[in-house]
Amino acid sequence: MSAVAPSAPPRRGRTFAAALRRGLAHGKLWTGGLVIGFIGAIALLSLVWTPLPPAKLQIVQKLKPPLAQGLLGTDHLGRDVASMLMVGAWNSLSIAVLAVVMGALAGTLLGVAVAARRGWFEAIMMRANDVIFAVPPILSAMMLGALLGTGRPTAIIAIAVFMVPVFARVTASAALQVWSRDYVQAARGAGKGGIRITIDHVLPNIANQIIVQATIQLGLAILTEAGLSFLGLGMAPPAPTWGRMLADAQTYLGRAPWLAILPGLAIALTVLGFNMLGDGLRDLLDPRERGR
């Protein structure tokens, strides 16, 4: 038997288009990463330093436009808007990240279990998923709020519950694809059970898709959190959140539009940042791009 010299398989076809796509992906990745990095840094900074304590009232200085008082002006109670935005960034991001991590963990677990078991288990779980998915997070937050009282844990759980079906669905369909591959058949032929195959083959091959999905869901979680606190279902006052800053600004839209514009911009920028990051990651990690 002669030894066969190793050689790289010929790669053809997807060269230029791939390069272009990679370039674009890097563009989106970098922009999204920078935006999120910036906001994340501000959120962390707010833990140790803000220009003024965000809850400090200076009624005399109320409704001052940006640069007139502090960097970004003051609200109707004379609180420093810049400081509130900084602390709001921490509140929003921490809730969103925790909720997505919890939702992703539960959803992924459910998804891989469904793919491994199929049959009636799949039918029941996926229908249960549909039911949860049909309940708006606002509604579940209201119900949870009635049970637990409003606050950070309520917001986190309400958003996380809303995330579970999304991750379960994405994971299940990706995992089912992996289960249909011959290497999984080979593993079954080698006597491996469902759990071993899930750990050894399924999870490593779907990790990319879960990461991409999580990034995109983070944007959605930020939006949902803002919506909850806008309705007063988020963190309890006086903790500043972007959503409640928007809600408070409604009354003064004519006199002090920056009070609405600034938190609105913060929300939009964060969501955009996460979406670009997710898009860039998807293009970069897409399994179709990395040879079969």
Partner: protein, 334 residues
Amino acid sequence: MIEPPLVDIRHLSRDYASGGLFAGRHVTRALTDVSMTVHRGTIHGIVGESGCGKSTLARLVMALDRPTSGSVLFEGEDLFGVSARELKRKRRDFQMVFQDPFGSLDPRQTVGRIVAEPLHVLDGKPGRAERRDKVAAMLEAVGLSPDHAARYPHAFSGGQRQRIAIARALITEPKLVVADEAVSALDLSVQAQVLNLLMDLRDRRGVTVLFITHNLAVVDAVADRVGVMYRGRLVESGPAQAVFARPLHPYTRLLADAEPDVTRFGRPDRPPLSVSAPIDVGVGCSFRNRCPRAVARCATERPELRSLGDEPDLRDRQTACHRAEVLLDAETSE
């Protein structure tokens, strides 16, 4: 032969249910009452076209699927009658090589890890060093180099990947390797290398191979015995050389005639193949609508697999055709 066969397949059938909401439930019979034996140290070919049930047969022999009825005896023990634990222990004795050398290796694992995968069913799980030695020895046995173990599958060509898949199948020193279209996706020059490897493994290690393919020439080149399948049934079986030299079933003849050959130039002097009308396969011979020798009996009575006699060149051969004697006479007089 006094030694019992390695694999004894008895009256194996497998139904698949399809349809649902609108179409109503519909049962398709992928495999119907197939019986055959595979002897130790041989390459046993199974040929047939898509939908003939050959891949279903492979999955059942590998115990990746359960039959609707019938049994697979491996060294005398029914694979579907033993406990899950017992089956898991038996799995070291039969392994599989798949068709697509790109889909059968996990892209996220190193070659070393892929090849070592089946070792985990062994009772005393070998240690890290022993595993590495085994993988290295196996890679060398299939013509690769031990330092390939650290690489990922994408660094290898199709032929090399198929060697990796064969190394994985052999690492538990199985008695049976089921190869489902294992060389069909490979280039001609590489295909011959892999076929030679299978023959070497049979001769040097006594490995038994159930070699499943649609390609007659490939089976003819490597197989000791062959079974021909059509629409879920075994229609002919016997020593490969005899079957291809003088088919006893019109379908085998049709396959042999249809296969392009580098020594036949231009249009073959056979009548153009006719487009077959659909028939009820529930009764009679399921090949009758394409058969040039079909008679009325073929539409009413199902031909069972039978021997044609005890003459030296017919011994050990079976066919499921009412008209086999006529076919035999015609072949002899040609």
